[in-house]
Every structure is written in structure tokens, then in C-alpha cells.
């Protein structure tokens, strides 16, 4: 492919930033020095080979952003040449992600969460203070951010420092002071494990009988020995002994269904890939966790990274894949560091790589970093993102088990799904399958946040009710009444104080028109202006729609306008007209959108209006209750 690149000449530093990711150029055709003796007149790297590098686009963009804090045009032009990607497409991909800064960005960025959990806990004030402090600054840029996945320690902020060694850290209970400290080079206030213990309030309690979270906060996440001493890697050995087919039978017997939101039977997914005719297959772990209110995957990756490595490896062995990708959202710098550490240690111990534990199986894991886009959690958008395309979901069918990553049969699973796998193989599929209820087997992680005394990740065998879970989390502080609970995140639904006895199972939540989704349980007491929360949710979908299909691109926009009209008390026609219009907007998004984002974009809103009437949007209710 012959592409035309008009951009400015790269500076030495810009070249260096790109070469740091891609290595030195081998060919004059891709931006290197011309060496006729070596290369002759035929490109060393041409045609198919050049095109096959497209998947390096996202890592290279990260390299440039990390080095400068923004994407200088010279660097983009150089990387276009290096990767043979047309500059217009590079621009299209770069502008898709909100962690990439386009024009003249500052070297340091602070992303302050103003999403639904943080905005009631000082997030908005923090954002305002930081905006004031850094207004006009050439070194620090402050951005409002959707949920940073630290809801248990609201308010949250993410500090990204650029430079030769880029550094990022995510801060819980953030203040102007801690953000200021984190802006100093070489400080990593997010290291350590103390706060991991508070993220898992049940931790260390033998009565809680934790299986998935047992190690979090109580084992050194950097120590493979600790992991092995606590039952780690027994499951991989067993899977290798059993072989693919029997391993999959165990998973099927456990009744495991995906924990990423869609609740698809995991065994069936694996079986389809294992039986695919194409022998090049992939395992992808979806760690893009961006659903507002969800933070379980981060806690697991930070606290028990080897469990995920083991789970992915078993998946690879079971379906006959040699390569796995772990796609972690870019807002999780610590999880990325810890997972990379675990992958490296596993490699050294021959638990990853060629001929694992002396068997015939080989498996490698590569981490890919997201760059700020909720939609890249949708499985096919995630594939496109890895492949170096815009993170736009693909139309289904075909499904990932047939045509997934690089068009190959692919198993894609959520982090929580995959850490259940070692457990299933250790304890036996039928044992796990005997836990829980008729329609929900095994254990589930819940992300409890908002107005509860002890927010954090909780683990229970399926069957606990919402009321019990809130009680376990210490109930609502100051004895205030519950106004509503958001189940399943922004894509989920609100339930009212009268529905607290709903069992937190797939079938139980479905029966009341709600969903477990990613396990979000966000509690709102009676002081919260739910109208403001709904406004934020509407803004979230308006921001995060990929923009590809009309129902969702325009629908999320019209929906937000409608919410704001009602908030300002200026409906077009009556409030009833507006709810009827919202129903129609919701219907076309649900019926005609390409992907799950559009399908669920109106769900939380409609559930709240159903519970409280359109008056909830005006915020009068909460004002009355404010102390």
C-alpha cells in the first residue's frame, strides 16, 4: 500500500518515542535510512508484512502520548510511515480515545472522576479546586472523567505523568494534596497493599469463606511462591493432565456463565472455539472494566494477578490457543504493572511460554492497554481496538467464537469469569455447580459503593438478597433511608426501597426487570439528587457512544437533551409527552442499535422514571431531605 504522508518532519525525540515501541526501522520505505546495499530496491518490509503491523498502532500511540503528554503531528506522521497506516486513519483512531490529547497538550494530566459514585463524595468539589489551581498551567491539564473504577474509595483521580519513563497512578480518597504529591516524578502513592484490604471488607474473616478474593490484600501480589503456597497452579496442572476436552467438560459442569454482563455459558463458548476448524485461535481477557460502579476486576488484578494468569492459561490449554491478549483499561496503571509482573514471573517459572510445565502446550500472554473508551469493553469493539482500528463494535453474527480477534476463533472472557476457572478445576465442576441457585451457579463478586458504611468488593455464593448485602456492607451511614439502589451500573436499572428483598441472582433480578450486569450495587440515600445522577448517566452514554449507528449516536444525544429539559423544568409539552418520547427513543436504541451500549442506554433512566415518575429529574425530592 502506497500512502501519502504530508505531516511535518519528526524531531529526534518524536522519532525516539516511536522507535522505543517499534524498534529501529528496517527499511527506507518505513522511515529508516536509505541503504541500497542492504535493501536493494525491494522493501524489506512491504505489502502483507507492513499491513500485518496495524495492531501496533494503539501501543505506539500510547508510546507517543506517554512521552509528550499529547500527540505531536510530527510523531504521528512518522508513525504513519513506520506502520504504513494512512494519516487520516491514524487521526481517526487517535481521536477515538479520551486519554489521547490532540493539540498542544500539557505533559501531565489529572483525570478527576465526576461520575455517579464520586460526585456525591466530593468529586465535583475536587474537580473545581484542581481546575482553579491549574487554570492556565502549561504543565498540568485537568479533565473531568467518567468512573475510574475506584468507587469504593470515592472521590477518585488518575494522574498521568509523561516523560522518558511514563508514570501513572490512580488515587482513591483523592485530595488536592495527594494529587499534588502524585504529580511529583517517581512517586507511586498507589503501590502497597494496605488499601486492598479495605477494598475487600470480608478479607481475613474465616467465616466469610472467601474463594475468589481470599488472597487479595493477604498475599504478596508480586510473589509467585505465595500464590503457589495458597493453592495456585494446582488447577493448571490438572487441566494439562485432563486435556482440553475434559477441562471444558468441567467448566460446563460448573454451570459457569460469563461475569462480564451478558451471562453467556462459558463452557459452550470454549467448546465452540475448541471445535473450530481454524487452528489459530486466541484467548482474550476483557479487563476494560469501565461500567460506572464496577471495580472488581481491578481489585482482583491488583491483589491476585496470578489467578488471572492461571485462568487465562487454562483457557488457552483448553481451547488450543497459543496466544492470549489481556486488554486492560488505560485508567488502571497499577493493575497493568502488577499483571505484567505476574506474567513475567510465570514465564520464568515455565508456567507460561513454550511447553508449559514440560507439556505439549504453549501459551503466551500480551497486555494491551486501553486508552479511555467504555465501548472498547464490548467484545468486538475490543477486537477492533487491538487490531488498530477504531473501537467500533462489529455487527453480529458472525460471533467471536467463529470470527473474533484477527478474524480467528476467539474466546473472550471477563476477568471474574477467568479467575473462577482455577477454582472450578481445583474443586471440581460439579461441586461448584452445586453451589448457588437453580439459575445462578457458583460465586459472585459484588461491587458495593455509594452510601454504605463499608464499600468494597464482596464475594458470596449466589442467593444473597440485596438487603442482606447492604447490611453486610454496614448499611447506610447515619441511619438514613435508602432512596434507590442502582443494580448493574449505568447500563443496569434502579430499584426502589420496596424491592430490597430481591435475590441477587440472574433470574431474581430479571424477575423484577433489573439486571446483575457486572455486579454493581450502588446505594443512594435520601439526600442524593437522583435527577443529577440521571443527568450524569445520560451524559455518560452521550460521551461513550462510538457514534457509528444512528439510533445510538443521535438517540443518546436526544435522550440527554430530554433529561436536561426535565431537569430545568422546561419540558416540550407536558412531562407525560416527554416520557412518551423517551420511551420511543429507548425503543429505537434497544431495537435497532448495533451493540449493547445502545441497547441499554436508556435502561437506568427509564427504570428511575418508572419508580419515581418524571418529577425525579427536577431534584425537588432530595432538596427536601437535605440536612
Amino acid at each position: 500500500m502506497d500512502i501519502k504522508v504530508n505531516g511535518p518532519e519528526p524531531t529526534a525525540a518524536e522519532r525516539e518515542a516511536v522507535d522505543a515501541v517499534l524498534g529501529a526501522p528496517v527499511s527506507a520505505w518505513s522511515g529508516g535510512k536509505r541503504d541500497l546495499g542492504k535493501e536493494g530496491r525491494i522493501a524489506l518490509l512491504g505489502g502483507n508484512e507492513a499491513r500485518a503491523q496495524r495492531h501496533l498502532l494503539l501501543p505506539t500511540l500510547h508510546g507517543v502520548q506517554d512521552r509528550f503528554g499529547w500527540l505531536p503531528p510530527g510523531a504521528l506522521a512518522y508513525l504513519s510511515n513506520r506502520l504504513t497506516i494512512p494519516p487520516a486513519e491514524v487521526h481517526g483512531v487517535a481521536t477515538f480515545y479520551h486519554l489521547f490529547t490532540q493539540e498542544g497538550g500539557a505533559p501531565n494530566h489529572v483525570h478527576v472522576c465526576d461520575d455517579i459514585a464520586c460526585r456525591h463524595k466530593g468529586g465535583l468539589e475536587l474537580l473545581q479546586q484542581l481546575n482553579q489551581q491549574h487554570s492556565g498551567s502549561k504543565t498540568v491539564e485537568v479533565h473531568p472523567s467518567p468512573c475510574l473504577g475506584l468507587c469504593e474509595r470515592a472521590p477518585a483521580a488518575l494522574v498521568l505523568r509523561s516523560g522518558k519513563v511514563a508514570q501513572g497512578c490512580a488515587l482513591g480518597h483523592a485530595t488536592v494534596g495527594t494529587v499534588g504529591n502524585a504529580l511529583q516524578p517517581d512517586t507511586f502513592p498507589d503501590e502497597g497493599t494496605d488499601w486492598l484490604q479495605s477494598a475487600v471488607p470480608q478479607g481475613g474473616d474465616p467465616k466469610a469463606n472467601l474463594a475468589l478474593l481470599a488472597r487479595v490484600g493477604h498475599c504478596d501480589p508480586a510473589s509467585l511462591d505465595d500464590y503457589r503456597a495458597t493453592g495456585g497452579y494446582i488447577a493448571l496442572k490438572r487441566a494439562i493432565e485432563l486435556g482440553g476436552e475434559k477441562t471444558i467438560s468441567e467448566v460446563t459442569a460448573s454451570g459457569m456463565v460469563g461475569r462480564g454482563g451478558a451471562a453467556f455459558p462459558t463452557g459452550r463458548k470454549w467448546d465452540a472455539v475448541a471445535k473450530a476448524t481454524d487452528s489459530t485461535r486466541y484467548v482474550v481477557c476483557n479487563a476494560d472494566e469501565s461500567e460506572p460502579g464496577t471495580f472488581k476486576d481491578r481489585v482482583v488484578m491488583e491483589g491476585d494477578p496470578f489467578a488471572l494468569v492461571e485462568g487465562m492459561t487454562i483457557a488457552g490449554v483448553a481451547v488450543g490457543a497459543k496466544k492470549g491478549f489481556l486488554y486492560i483499561r488505560g485508567e488502571y496503571p497499577l493493575a497493568i504493572r502488577r499483571m505484567q509482573g505476574a506474567i513475567d514471573s510465570a514465564h520464568k517459572a515455565n508456567l507460561l511460554g513454550e511447553r508449559i510445565l514440560g507439556s505439549e502446550n504453549s501459551f503466551h500472554i500480551e497486555i494491551r492497554r486501553g486508552a479511555g473508551a467504555y465501548i472498547c469493553g464490548e467484545e468486538t469493539a475490543l477486537f477492533n481496538s487491538i487490531e488498530g482500528l477504531r473501537g467500533e463494535p462489529r455487527n453480529k453474527p458472525p460471533f467471536p467464537v467463529q470470527h473474533g480477534l484477527f478474524n480467528k476463533p476467539t474466546v473472550i472472557n471477563n476477568v471474574e469469569t477467568l479467575i473462577n476457572i482455577p477454582l472450578i478445576l481445583r474443586e471440581g465442576g460439579t461441586t461448584i455447580g452445586g453451589l448457588g441457585t437453580q439459575g445462578s451457579k457458583g460465586r459472585k463478586l459484588f461491587c458495593v459503593s455509594g452510601h454504605v458504611a463499608r464499600p468494597g468488593v464482596y464475594e458470596y455464593v449466589f442467593g444473597i438478597s440485596l438487603r442482606q448485602l447492604i447490611e453486610q456492607a454496614g448499611g447506610v451511614p447515619h441511619g438514613r433511608p435508602i432512596q434507590a439502589v442502582l443494580l448493574g451500573g449505568a447500563a443496569g436499572a434502579f430499584v426502589g426501597p420496596g424491592q430490597l428483598d430481591v435475590p441477587l441472582t440472574f433470574e431474581g433480578t430479571r424477575a423484577i426487570g433489573a439486571t446483575l450486569g457486572s455486579g454493581v450495587v450502588m446505594v443512594f440515600d435520601d439526600t442524593v439528587d437522583l435527577g443529577d445522577t440521571l443527568g450524569r448517566i445520560a451524559a455518560f452514554f452521550r460521551d461513550e457512544s462510538c457514534g457509528q449507528c444512528v439510533p445510538c449516536r443521535v438517540g443518546t444525544t436526544r435522550q440527554e437533551e430530554l433529561v436536561q429539559r426535565l431537569r430545568h423544568g422546561k419540558p416540550l409539552g407536558t412531562a407525560a409527552d416527554e416520557t412518551a418520547l423517551l420511551d420511543e427513543i429507548g425503543q429505537v436504541m434497544r431495537d435497532a442499535s448495533i451493540c449493547g451500549l445502545g441497547h441499554t442506554a436508556s435502561s437506568a433512566l427509564q427504570s428511575a422514571i418508572k419508580l419515581f415518575g418524571p418529577g425525579i429529574l427536577s431534584g425537588k425530592l432530595a432538596e427536601k431531605n437535605h440536612v
Binding site: H91, G547, V550, P551, E561, Q564, R565, E584, Q587, I594
Partner: protein, 329 residues
């Protein structure tokens, strides 16, 4: 040639090829597919889409992003139909027909979705030069005015510099639009993205479906998504070679010959006074079919029929824009 070709003796003989170039495997013709559309039995060949099945029964289906020569991108969702057993509606332009499918094209669900899609487009995009879409809006009873007064146009470049993940919270009193000044940055064609429905066809035409120049791509996200050159530079600083193939596929007139744009501005554009004449381009030996659109004895634009094998509707800069010489004769 009457004499059979004979190799001259002194020519170099290449060694025989070790293997034959493999031929594409002969595909076994699969049996045709029987399905039901709106209660009527339809038979279509294997590989046909639901849109083909609708066509076969004479069922008229609105399409915006579909182009018969391109791989369907299925983004506009105006062609959705109800498929028995599917939780959501499915895009007929891309969904392959399967045996036994039960398809409905006239249910309330289908009508509502189509109406809403058209309403969304009409309330956010200027459809004044898209008569077919206007007719569809009427047909489905779309009422774009129910989202409030349209907001004023954005300043030049404002939409091009929007960042993903942030937007100004609207008051909701005015309906947001993509309205912005028309981009006139060269003498051959203009880009009026106020009229862009984001059908992706121009990107496909400029990319590997036709031109392989890749001068434009979709940038941004959500409602801020837009067609853009790299860093939104003017076309003259981009990779564009002015083949005009993007103009040829644009369904709304967002991409338009400068000659047409200028005449519309001056109020002299009058399609009823135009004649279309097919001819063969004289610039090179390929011999592309040109359709000359002539008004008052002047060529006002040039297209090529999309269903002709030689061009598939595509031309190069010479055939597309090289008519000034004739006009100046």
C-alpha cells in the same frame, strides 16, 4: 491475429515453474434458500441478504448507508426488519438470508424504528439536497421538529476539534445538530458536513472499496464523530487526488461539485433543465463511461453509472473534473 503465436528461437527460456499457480477452488453451488417475508414465501440464491429477499418480493426498503458495490457497513439502521427469534431488529442490508427465516418488514416495531432513525437524521442533519431521504421521512411520518428548535450552526472547525469523552451539557431547549460552514478549500469540490449523515460511503470509496487513497476517515466519537482528513487539514494538504469518487457515492449532497455548489448558491441550479449524456472519456485508453450533466449547454457535473463494469461509478480526476476545457471551447 491470424497466425498462431510462436516463440522465436533465440529467446531466453525460463525454467519451468515448479508448481502451477493454484486456481481458486471451484465453489460448489449451494442450493437456494427458502424463507418467508411478510407471510410470502421467497427463494433467493445462497449468499443473498434479507434486503435481496425483500427486493425479490418487490418490498421497498429504505437504505441510507448501503451501496450495492460496497461491503455493507450497516450503520444507519434504516433498513431494519423484524426477524423471528432475534431479540433485536436486524439490518436487512447485511444480514444473510438463512433457510426458514421468518421476516417481517411492516410490523409496528419496524415502522417505529425506521421512523425514529429518519427523525434522528432529519433533526440533526440538513437534508435539503437529499430528496430521497425527505421522501422517506414523509413516508414514515418522521417529525423532526419534536426535539425543539434546531440549534444555530457551529463555528468553522469547532466540530473538528471536539475531544472524545467531553461535551458541554446541553440545556435541551434546542436540538443539537451537525450544522457548520461548508468547507471550500479547493476549486473542484466542496464538503458541506452540515449535510453528512455519516454513512461511511465516502470513506469506503476513498479507501479499499474503490480508490485506495485513504485521504479521509471517520474521526471523533459519538455525536461528535465526523469525516475528517488527518488533523482536519484542508483537502489540498491531504492525500486527496480529487478523483471525486466520494462525491459519486454521497447520498445527501454533502460532497458536491464546486460547479454545482456555486450554481445552487447563485440560484441557477435547475435539474429540470438538465440533460444527461453518456459518453466515453477520451483522456486515456481505459475508456470509462462518463455521464455528462449538461445545463444550458454547459457541463455542470460528471458522474459514471454505478452498474457499469468498467468504472463501477468510479473515475479519476481527469474524467471527473476535466470538463472545463470543453466548457471553454
Amino acid at each position: 491475429m491470424s497466425e498462431p503465436f510462436r516463440e522465436p528461437e533465440m529467446w531466453f527460456h525460463a525454467p519451468p515453474r515448479p508448481t502451477r499457480i493454484p486456481l481458486a477452488p471451484v465453489k460448489e453451488a449451494k442450493p437456494p434458500i427458502n424463507l418467508t417475508v411478510d407471510g410470502q414465501a421467497v427463494t433467493v440464491p445462497d449468499g443473498a441478504t434479507l434486503l435481496d429477499a425483500c427486493k425479490a418480493k418487490g418490498i421497498d426498503t429504505p437504505t441510507v448507508c448501503f451501496h450495492p458495490n460496497f461491503t455493507p457497513v450497516n450503520v444507519c439502521r434504516s433498513c431494519v426488519v423484524e426477524l423471528d427469534g432475534s431479540r433485536t431488529l436486524v439490518p436487512s442490508c447485511s444480514r444473510k438470508a438463512e433457510a426458514g427465516m421468518l421476516v417481517k418488514t411492516d410490523s409496528e416495531r419496524v415502522k417505529t424504528s425506521r421512523k425514529m432513525v429518519l427523525e434522528f437524521l432529519a433533526s440533526s442533519v440538513d437534508l435539503s439536497t437529499a430528496p430521497e431521504l425527505q421522501a422517506r421521512c414523509k413516508e414514515y411520518g418522521a417529525n423532526p421538529s419534536r426535539y425543539g428548535q434546531p440549534e444555530p450552526a457551529h463555528a468553522a472547525g469547532e466540530r473538528d476539534s471536539r475531544c472524545a469523552g467531553h461535551h458541554h451539557i446541553p440545556t435541551g431547549e434546542q436540538a443539537q445538530r451537525v450544522a457548520q460552514p461548508v468547507k471550500v478549500d479547493n476549486t473542484l469540490y466542496v464538503r458541506d458536513y452540515s449535510k453528512c449523515v455519516l454513512c461511511y460511503k465516502c470513506v469506503q470509496a476513498c479507501g479499499d472499496e474503490a480508490q485506495n487513497t485513504f485521504a479521509i476517515a471517520v474521526a471523533g466519537r459519538g455525536f461528535d464523530a465526523r469525516i475528517s482528513t488527518e488533523n482536519a487539514v484542508p483537502l489540498t494538504d491531504s492525500a486527496c487526488v480529487y478523483c471525486g469518487n466520494c462525491i459519486g457515492v454521497c447520498p445527501t449532497g454533502a460532497l458536491m461539485f464546486k460547479s454545482e455548489h456555486d450554481m445552487r448558491e447563485a440560484g441557477t441550479w435547475d435539474e429540470s433543465q438538465q440533460k444527461q449524456t453518456d459518453t466515453i472519456c477520451g483522456y486515456c485508453g481505459v475508456g470509462c463511461t462518463l455521464t455528462l450533466h449538461v445545463q444550458e449547454d454547459k457541463i455542470v457535473k460528471v458522474t459514471s453509472p454505478a452498474d457499469i463494469d468498467i468504472t463501477h461509478g468510479n473515475l479519476c480526476i481527469k474524467g471527473r473534473f476535466g470538463f472545463e476545457g470543453i466548457n471553454n471551447r
